[in-house]
Symmetry: D3
Subunit: 249 residues, 6 copies
Amino acid sequence: MRVLFINPNTSPGFTEKIAAIATRHAFPGTDVVAVNPTSGPRSIESIYDELLSSPGTLETAIERLDECDAVVIACYSDHPTVYALREIADKPVVGIAEASMLLACVLGHKFSVVTTNREWEPLLWDAVRHYGLGERCASVRSTGMAVLDLETAGAETVDNAIIAAARLAVEQDGADVICLGCAGMAGLDEKVTAALGVPVVDGVVAALKLMEGAVAAGLSTSKRLAYAQPQYKEVVGLPALFDRPYVRR
Amino acid sequence: MRVLFINPNTSPGFTEKIAAIATRHAFPGTDVVAVNPTSGPRSIESIYDELLSSPGTLETAIERLDECDAVVIACYSDHPTVYALREIADKPVVGIAEASMLLACVLGHKFSVVTTNREWEPLLWDAVRHYGLGERCASVRSTGMAVLDLETAGAETVDNAIIAAARLAVEQDGADVICLGCAGMAGLDEKVTAALGVPVVDGVVAALKLMEGAVAAGLSTSKRLAYAQPQYKEVVGLPALFDRPYVRR
Amino acid sequence: MRVLFINPNTSPGFTEKIAAIATRHAFPGTDVVAVNPTSGPRSIESIYDELLSSPGTLETAIERLDECDAVVIACYSDHPTVYALREIADKPVVGIAEASMLLACVLGHKFSVVTTNREWEPLLWDAVRHYGLGERCASVRSTGMAVLDLETAGAETVDNAIIAAARLAVEQDGADVICLGCAGMAGLDEKVTAALGVPVVDGVVAALKLMEGAVAAGLSTSKRLAYAQPQYKEVVGLPALFDRPYVRR
Amino acid sequence: MRVLFINPNTSPGFTEKIAAIATRHAFPGTDVVAVNPTSGPRSIESIYDELLSSPGTLETAIERLDECDAVVIACYSDHPTVYALREIADKPVVGIAEASMLLACVLGHKFSVVTTNREWEPLLWDAVRHYGLGERCASVRSTGMAVLDLETAGAETVDNAIIAAARLAVEQDGADVICLGCAGMAGLDEKVTAALGVPVVDGVVAALKLMEGAVAAGLSTSKRLAYAQPQYKEVVGLPALFDRPYVRR
Amino acid sequence: MRVLFINPNTSPGFTEKIAAIATRHAFPGTDVVAVNPTSGPRSIESIYDELLSSPGTLETAIERLDECDAVVIACYSDHPTVYALREIADKPVVGIAEASMLLACVLGHKFSVVTTNREWEPLLWDAVRHYGLGERCASVRSTGMAVLDLETAGAETVDNAIIAAARLAVEQDGADVICLGCAGMAGLDEKVTAALGVPVVDGVVAALKLMEGAVAAGLSTSKRLAYAQPQYKEVVGLPALFDRPYVRR
Amino acid sequence: MRVLFINPNTSPGFTEKIAAIATRHAFPGTDVVAVNPTSGPRSIESIYDELLSSPGTLETAIERLDECDAVVIACYSDHPTVYALREIADKPVVGIAEASMLLACVLGHKFSVVTTNREWEPLLWDAVRHYGLGERCASVRSTGMAVLDLETAGAETVDNAIIAAARLAVEQDGADVICLGCAGMAGLDEKVTAALGVPVVDGVVAALKLMEGAVAAGLSTSKRLAYAQPQYKEVVGLPALFDRPYVRR
């Protein structure tokens, strides 16, 4: 099977990191493809950034939908393209935030998310509530470092900031499990586990495993109600590609 | 003061309707401006449609932010541009769905939303929960008519379908108040009230009144945490206009 | 239009303050009338106080219902006369606590309430839950100063206590918006905003704006279910005035 | 011990009924006293009625607080005097609605309330939520008969209406237990149990048993935070009796 | 009437303590019987311990069901035998945790539970949520002392640890009432009340009072839906006694 | 890797069915082992049945823990041995109910569970709430057929009953996805999907995929707080095997 990972920002460094981690953890027979759009912001740290990244992300997905079995949106947010893709694809689709939290649920009683800027705290609490997982989330804690800093700051600085936030989640908030709340943190799970002795879920790996599982089980997105294929309507001023997913009555 | 209404779809007929209703209900001294983007779908009935409408809507808003005191997104959904605009504007911003539900809260114990296609039911329940108003919402009921049908079907057919759905909301679900769940239903409030004897909230009017009230009270969007101005990052492959809202550190 | 503000305590100083603030913020054409009952406690700090203030408040309202277009109960609590008035009036009615919280919802992701005595914390949390706004409330924080102290303590002392509590709400609890939790705090909003850089909602102004908006939109309390006009029954030992609101079958 | 039952309406027939049932179910050594105020409405069917009944109810209670060990407010509602009495008394206080629901929780997984007029449905749902018991309540169902009709309609008519509503609660809503939602239904529990084979909780009996239990366990209302004794403030235009409960600093 | 207390652990010292406290608080005419199983762990501190204690507890109960009027499971946990016994008995059954929390609800606005090991915190929060009382619970706080330590540590050490945890619950978490979260804490209620001035509920006493009340009111477990008598099926490899409770179709 | 499936009832027919389905869906390299205890009831339809099945289930697990990488409890309930095993194992453990619901969350907006006897409805709602998934569950619907009937009734009868219940879930309750709520329904997923056009999740397959994913990701149960290894205490009257999992301080 082929699992398509779309990094919705335009930083190829992130995409490579995602590709490496997903490839390393794939079951034999799983083909990992990781791409990013050619338009949009270099990183995603706000709803505004999410919306600027959406046309490119959708374009990237629409072009590749026929050649994959499942799609992962590799941004640790409640990225709206997850839902748009569930509407226009008849394949399973998941974001790495939701995937990490669902997998965390089988590993402990409560999970916490460790993320970057403080602005992500309300956004990720909204994501938790949107997924219906408010009862399972002990806390969302931020390190105060911006997304792109994860790339440029020294590795030790980044590690220490994440470990410090995760420690508070475990010791003060009652978290049994830590979810790494940024695609740019991919690969840090082992260090955090070593420091704190709790399972640490990397969203890229969690999403890969859920998609491999769904595809192997023959399961796909329900097209019945919430994610019904959108009805055709005229679209103006945008590439014709965007017409393709509509169903004609 | 000037209140900017953006109809995020590309049907000028909707925009005119919105302009007419808002103008009719404005306080003296309020200048209503209603516009729609030049790119995107003719109507919005899915997350996919929402995302296709977002770049044009943001563009339209960014160009006009300096010339208005408040912004209304005139689509009866939890349209993501509401949040993006709260991030990039230092003016109050609201969508007509949230506005109608907040105003309904002072008129009755529970409200119901009457909407078009059945696919809107889960989307609008998500909106209700996102606004944190789940305890106040008796039901979301759909008429089964698509958004564009509201324009083309005979007025009586549309009216009867909406009244029938609203009647079930009142008699079976315990709604005290009805929210008209589509910008295209603007103006039908009086007919529904006449038929059912309950207050019927038109989202365009509700949004106008909340924005007039906020501006008059000297209140604006909090830029402190959730809606902090986004930090600058490079944006590629999109018009330079989209760089403008970022703050440089 | 005429908006009737009833200060349910018997301290005319509060009433004058309320009148001044409401008058200053009214739209042209809005006539503000502020009154208080002649019986009941000088301030309201408990359910017991609320109930002692209720007969006088209802009397005051019943006498003036015909001459106004909307009623505001200007006590920052879930004062039970709000609901009684919704039952007996066919005009919009709101309390300043609910009004401030609803308006805060369009300005930020979460609001906090800053109030006086610590005993108000559970009472206002109950109010928040009764309004169905628990998901939007970051915290209720008290200054530890009694209501009447707001009148007698030096202005600087009061200001500092309120700003300190609000600062904790913003920095520790994640509040984007502050609601001033006492009618006696009216007018302090600008100072708190200046100190903290967040919008601060004064309940008197919020209630005024919601009532002006509802009346201008032609909306009133739903008489259908929860706030149906009470059926007549004999009332003994009380002024005949209290018979007036009942409906005879 | 002595348990004081206050029927807050002014219908002595209700009071006698309450006295008879409580006396019949009292443990040996429990002295039941049932009274009603001399002012207020003949029955309570709205918040307005509740507030008209409050001064008389408080007066009745204040005069007798020293001579009893616990107080029951015998009106099936979230009557506000329950909370005022918890503030001003250092004895346990409960209303028959809360008592019946708490006792129902040990008898089944979910309870339903069967009440009179349809207007009680939202009021009793608010009560359920205020008690924090929303997860345990299957439904609130009304018979459509007004409170005073319970006294005047033929017994069989009343019984049949209650049994029909209770049957729907059991068969459609998944209720394991029925709470009789009106003090005027006292004594019907056996008939409903005979018809439906489920336990039926009479609020008067439930309140008696909780108060007997609390007193025997040496437990009383916490005066620490939510129900702290109110601080003195001047009260004007009301009987001096109402000054008595305040604490002077 | 006879109330059967089953201490599900195999430490007779606990059983004696429970018997003494229950006997001291029983109404005249109530016969208290306290027993423990002969198989299972000496104390219960995990789900694993609960399950090891379950066969012995059920055996003990089945043998004595005909000779009692109500059953109390005297372990401060959401012990699963409570639900099994509700299924197989037509008598009221309660655990001391649920009983203490329900009684606490009439004494204050919020209760906190003070318990032993930290591992109990998530378990007791699950219990609180299972009882549907999440809105009424201010906190679950642990002393860090294991259950059996309560027997062996000096009385003063135990008392001080419990009082310290309870003080935090009252002063920081807003608890009005403390529930003693371990059967082994029975008898400490008076000391904690003396230290903190808040009501302290002992689960053994609370359960006794609820069961005395239910029996006196003629109320028993609903057998209608959730606690219907289990249908017969073959049971292999276990004592024949376990067949007895099944109903044959 | 090896995944151990324990069918906690004592019907080998169920175990074989589970083995067959899990084997058919396993990734290459996964070794499926399915067993059942030698003591306990033939089927599980109540908490009482669950508790009778627990000692044998734990025994079976303890004996095999060293030889497997993950454990599945293959009973569609919130079987308490799942939690006991998370406490005593340092491997991932899941029940088929929780697994099916978590996987359903990525396939649709809401799922419904279709189960057997009506008594399962409250039990499975409790499970849903315990998993914290109440917001994602549209309904729990029962077919009214007992568990063992699934084995003996004609296949067509069983299929039709399940399809009828699932149809109501989709058409009336708004379910996008169906979870088959009984291990004995394993294998019916394709028929239900064919009839209704929605994804149908088989809990055995879902649990297999989650466990394969967790093991491949190097993730296991958190031993930090909620599922900490239980401390040793003497266990009397039970096989010595049950001492093994305790940790000695």
